[in-house]
Structures are given as structure tokens and as C-alpha cells.
């Protein structure tokens, strides 16, 4: 366990390993002493002129007198909530865009189909054909058509 403590204080353990080790440290006071001693060694090597004693013992008494904190973990749940909200917002936005595009794509087609249907049935049947028949002799092909009619009439008389 000591080697793991050494690696933990250097930030060289994986998260799950650290979680397990911190659980062990809580149950085993020897591990906490090793943690404190290793940190003391590091501080002595870096700043030997700033080493003081007598702190932990007196602070430990004060800390034990404090009421225990029971606060919900805020960091990770907030991050998860943030991601979840982002994902939901993205899906909603996508759905809205898809719905709008379907509306925009379908509506003109239906409208144009209706218009074409109305135009195709009514004028073709009643208006356009009558109009063309009435003006047939003035159309570019009137000479041929008129001649054909005349020929047919003569042939019928013969």
C-alpha cells in the first residue's frame, strides 16, 4: 500500500485505484501517517527553511470538534446534468429542424398539386378545348386543318 500512497501523492494512479486506496487510508491510520511523512519529506526538500512542527495534532482536535459536513457532490452531477441538458436541447433542435423542413417541403407540393389539379380539370375540359376549337382556323396549323376539312367535304360529295 505504501508504494500506492507514494504514487497517489504524485498524481500517478488511475481514478479507480485512487478511490480504492483512499478507502483503505480511511480505515488504516498507518497509511495516513505515511501520506503525511512523504509530504513532509517533499516540503523539506523544496523549502527546508519553512518547516514547522506542532500543527497537525492541534488542528486534528479542532477538526474533530467541527460538525460533520454532509453535502451532496456537486461537481460531477452538475457536469452530467449539463451534458444531459445539452443533449436534450440538441435532440429537440434537430427534431424542430426536421419537422420544419418536412412542413416546408410538403406544403407547397400539396398546394401546387391542388392548383394543378384544378387547372388541369376545369380549363382543359371546358375552357381550353372550347377556346382552341373556336380559334382553330386562326392557329398556325389552320391552313392544313382547314384544307383537310375542305378535302374531306369534297371527297364526300364525289
Amino acid at each position: 500500500m505504501k508504494q500506492e500512497i507514494s504514487a497517489l501523492m504524485d498524481g500517478e494512479l488511475f481514478e479507480d485505484e485512487a478511490e480504492v486506496l483512499l478507502g483503505k487510508l480511511k480505515r488504516q491510520p498507518d497509511g495516513s501517517r505515511d501520506w503525511a511523512t512523504y509530504h513532509l519529506i517533499g516540503d523539506v526538500l523544496r523549502q527546508p527553511e519553512h518547516i514547522r512542527c506542532g500543527f497537525t495534532e492541534s488542528f486534528h482536535r479542532r477538526l474533530q470538534a467541527e460538525p460533520t459536513i454532509l453535502a451532496p457532490r456537486q461537481h460531477k452531477p452538475q457536469r452530467v446534468k449539463h451534458y444531459a441538458l445539452s443533449a436534450v436541447a440538441s435532440v429537440m433542435a434537430l427534431a424542430l429542424v426536421a419537422w420544419l423542413s418536412m412542413q416546408i417541403g410538403n406544403e407547397p407540393a400539396v398546394q401546387m398539386a391542388n392548383i394543378q389539379q384544378k387547372n388541369a380539370v376545369r380549363p382543359a375540359a371546358y375552357q381550353v378545348n372550347d377556346y382552341l376549337m373556336a380559334h382553330q382556323e386562326f392557329s398556325p396549323s389552320a391552313d392544313v386543318q382547314g384544307a383537310a376539312t375542305f378535302i374531306h367535304t369534297v371527297a364526300a360529295k364525289q
Binding site: 513532509l40 526538500l45 514547522r52 457532490r73
Partner: protein, 199 residues
């Protein structure tokens, strides 16, 4: 998993009612925070009291800590405010008014101030601890001493140390641990073995 993530795990445990986890943070940062506060008040006894007060304030404020900044940054801010409020309450001025930040204070070298006001007993104890650590370091084999020095003084990661020493990361991990354990073995008689030891 870096140093900040280790602190965050300890904070989350403390937020869930684990006082022991907060104690580990105290063990880790007590000297750095004490050095910072001493820079303000220039009195070792006052600095120690204020360091305790700052840690207690931090403990009480833990529910509000959300991990937006590193724990030590948050802690140092509490330390600075504690020191400034103390000076204000006693009609004293902080060393500088607004431009004094944690990093500046931490890097400031002012060892003589601390030694001038330390009690003789503490002074002796501190000197003994420093002497044992230095003597132990000198007795270490070269590879162990180099690995520990690169880690603790140069602040290199295991990967960087492995590159410098041309060895696997697992070997670096083992060397650093063995070096620490040799020094710790020499220190333990001096530090005592009670659960609430002095360090």
C-alpha cells in the same frame, strides 16, 4: 489522474462527511498555506493560528466548493482573506495592498522571519527533521536520489523522469517510493508514532 484530480477526490469525500479525507488535504497543504500566511503577518505563532483558522473556514465552506478552480487556489484565497482580515482587525497593514496573490506569496523567500519568532523547541525539532532528511538523501543510492530529486524538486512527472533516466515508468515509481521509504524510516523515531502525530 493528476494532482488536481486527487485533491478533487479528497474534497468530494470530505463533502460526503469524510473528515479523514480533509485531514489528508491538511497534511498536504499545511506548510504551504502556513508559509503564505506568514508572509502577511510576519509572526510564526500568529501564522500557525491563522493557518488553522483558514483550514477550518475552508472545511465549513466545503459545501460551496464546486471544483471550478483547483482546491489549492481556493484554499489560498481563503488563507489570504483570513490573514488580511486579521491584520485589519488589529489595525495593521498587509505587505502590499492589491497586487499580492497566492503565487507571489508562495514564492517569496523570507525564512529569517519565521526563525526569529519560532519557539526554541520547535526550532530544534525543525532543524532535526531537516538534518535527517538531508542526511538520508545523501545516503541513498544514486538512482533513488536522482528519481526523488527530479520528482520533488524539479516537479517532473514519472514519464518525464523515465525519459531522463532512460528506464521504464514502473521503475521510476519503484525508485521514488523506495527513496521516500528510506527517508521516512529514518524520520519516524523523530516524528513519533501516535495517531495524531505532530506532522
Amino acid at each position: 489522474m493528476g494532482d488536481r484530480e486527487v485533491d478533487q477526490q479528497l474534497v468530494e469525500r470530505a463533502q460526503s462527511g469524510d473528515k479523514h479525507a480533509f485531514g489528508l488535504l491538511v497534511s498536504k497543504y499545511q506548510r504551504r498555506l502556513g508559509r503564505l500566511i506568514n508572509r502577511f503577518v510576519r509572526n510564526a505563532a500568529e501564522a500557525e493560528d491563522l493557518t488553522q483558522e483558514a483550514f477550518i473556514k475552508a472545511y465549513r465552506a466545503l459545501p460551496a466548493f464546486r471544483g471550478d478552480s483547483a482546491f489549492y487556489t481556493w484554499l489560498y484565497r481563503i488563507g489570504i482573506n483570513t490573514a488580511k482580515n486579521h491584520l485589519l482587525a488589529h489595525g495593521r497593514r498587509a505587505p502590499t495592498s492589491t497586487s499580492f496573490d497566492a503565487e507571489e506569496a508562495e514564492n517569496f523567500e523570507d525564512a529569517s522571519l519565521l526563525h526569529e519568532v519560532a519557539t526554541p523547541e520547535n526550532e530544534l525539532m525543525s532543524k532535526q527533521v531537516v538534518a535527517v532528511v538531508n542526511a538520508s538523501l545523501q545516503q541513498l543510492p544514486d538512482d533513488l536520489r536522482t528519481a526523488l530529486t527530479l520528482r520533488e524538486i524539479e516537479g517532473l512527472s514519472y514519464e518525464e523522469i523515465a525519459s531522463v533516466m532512460n528506464c521504464p515508468i514502473g521503475t521510476v515509481r519503484s525508485r521514488i517510493f523506495r527513496a521516500r521509504e528510506v527517508v521516512a524510516t529514518n524520520l519516524r523515531p523523530l516524528l513519533g508514532t501516535s495517531e495524531n502525530n505532530r506532522w
